[in-house]
């Protein structure tokens, strides 16, 4: 179903996570028109289509996390915010020419993101390690915690996982979190790395 999202609806959907987030992502990627302008921007600056697609996807991901963390205050539109993220990604990660190296778009301080290019690489490596640890606590826990981390509601997690009640889901999440925490506690270096 092709649904049009207004600005506030997109922000609400992203913050809610779960299936609402999924609908917003589909809208942003396929129907909003943001993709065309960003891809053109990058391709005009000697970027390949592959580069442009990668940047667009990374930009959406970062924007979602930023909004979910409450770092987006709505001083710009979603379009502007996403475009700025993507431009900065392009300029800092894929610029080969010196003249691009110093050009960084000015964005409102409260809407800056935490991760720089090196951190992206570290995150990718760390994610693989965390996935392994998460797999050790069992598939059910992996599912519940993954959905909870994506801001799925207890009701949605209950439906997804197939528990009888939200109370049971809440209890399971509690148990799974502790199990994961015990695993992480076994690796002090990982704790240091995660906490910076």
């Amino acid at each position: 179903m092709n649904r049009f999202f207004k600005e506030e609806e997109m922000i609400r959907g992203i913050r809610q996570g779960g299936s609402s987030l999924e609908e917003v992502l589909v809208f942003i990627y396929h129907q909003s028109g943001y993709r065309q302008s960003i891809l053109q921007f990058i391709q005009r600056r000697n970027g390949s289509l592959e580069d442009a697609e990668d940047i667009f996807q990374e930009g959406i991901s970062r924007m979602v996390i930023s909004i979910q963390k409450g770092k987006f205050e709505g001083k710009s539109t979603i379009r502007t915010y996403l475009t700025t993220i993507c431009k900065n990604l392009w300029f800092t990660q894929y610029a080969r020419s010196n003249r691009y190296a110093d050009i960084v778009e000015q964005i409102p301080p409260e809407e800056e993101f935490e991760m720089g290019p090196d951190e992206v690489l570290l995150l990718k490596e760390r994610s693989e390690g965390l996935q392994n640890i998460l797999a050790q606590v069992g598939e059910k826990c992996k599912k519940v915690l993954s959905l909870w981390a994506l801001h799925y509601s207890m009701r949605e997690i209950t439906q997804e996982v197939g528990y009888k009640s939200e109370g049971m889901t809440r209890k399971k999440k509690h148990q799974c979190f502790k199990a994961l925490m015990n695993k992480i506690r076994e690796q002090p270096d990982l704790i240091k790395e995660l906490l910076g």
């Binding site: 992502l25 891809l39 005009r44 990374e58 959406i60 981390a149 994961l180 704790i191 906490l195």
Partner: protein, 253 residues
């Protein structure tokens, strides 16, 4: 120890999720400074939370990648840079210019006139009395290429002269050849008023060409229309051809 950790976990969870009353948060923060075990447990909790956030980002990335795969990436986004637009615009302009030049070359009034006009055989034209002397002089001038002299000599032949019609007919042609379209127009109109059957049908046709050369499309069409009313007219096919070319796409373009 296990009992402590269980209690620690519940306290930490309440504190992080913000479900405590303010005084409990303050107590927790005080205990955090004094209790190393609580502090370690708290750090483990935060690290686990951070780990899940990192995994969430990875999961969002996977979601976006999956959504992206729903649309084929082979749809190339053409970079509409200035260079591309300029080249495309230049190409279109060239096509338009060539079309315009072709139309102008083939379908202008002058081009159509040149395609339709045939010079009469001057050697066949002769007068029969003394006035023909002036007429013969004009023909002689014409044959030596002195068109302007010939035209002047023909103008001197008076209306009451027998050769007047022939002189006017010849003058009209000379004026067409000299590009004096409006003079030719007047000459052929006068000749038409004479109703000389020898030249009537010719006058109708060459008057149309005079109108065409003068750029008077309305009169050209009217004249051609009059010819096309008479299927036996000797210039009927010529009138049809000219009418068709006047109405062609290229002339309008």
């Amino acid at each position: 120890m296990l009992m402590s950790k269980e209690i620690y976990f519940d306290r930490i969870e309440s504190y992080v999720e913000g479900t405590n009353p303010p005084e409990e948060d303050r107590q927790f923060e005080k205990d955090l400074e004094k209790n190393q075990a609580l502090k370690e447990e708290y750090q483990a909790y935060l690290a686990t939370q951070k780990a899940l956030e990192d995994l969430a980002l990875a999961e969002v990335r996977n979601k976006v990648a999956r959504i992206a795969r729903q649309s084929p990436r082979t749809a190339k986004v053409l970079p509409l840079n200035r260079r591309t637009i300029a080249i495309a615009a230049g190409f279109l302009l060239l096509i338009a210019a060539l079309g315009f030049l072709y139309g102008r070359q083939q379908y202008s009034n002058q081009s159509l006139f040149a395609q339709q006009y045939e010079t009469p055989n001057w050697s066949a034209i002769r007068g029969s009395n003394s006035a023909t002397e002036k007429f013969d002089q004009a023909i002689a001038s014409l044959q030596t290429g002195s068109l302007a002299d010939a035209a002047q000599q023909l103008k001197e032949i008076k209306r009451e002269e027998e050769v007047f019609a022939t002189a006017q007919y010849t003058l009209g042609h000379l004026q067409l050849q000299l590009g004096q379209a409006e003079d030719a127009q007047a000459t052929f109109e006068n000749l038409g008023d004479l109703n000389d059957k020898r030249y009537q049908e010719n006058v109708e046709w060459f008057l149309a060409l005079a109108y065409l050369q003068a750029g008077n499309e309305t009169l050209t069409h009217r004249q051609l229309g009059a010819i096309l009313q008479k299927q036996q007219h000797p210039y009927y096919p010529d009138a049809q051809r000219l009418q068709s070319r006047l109405e062609s796409f290229w002339r309008r373009f």
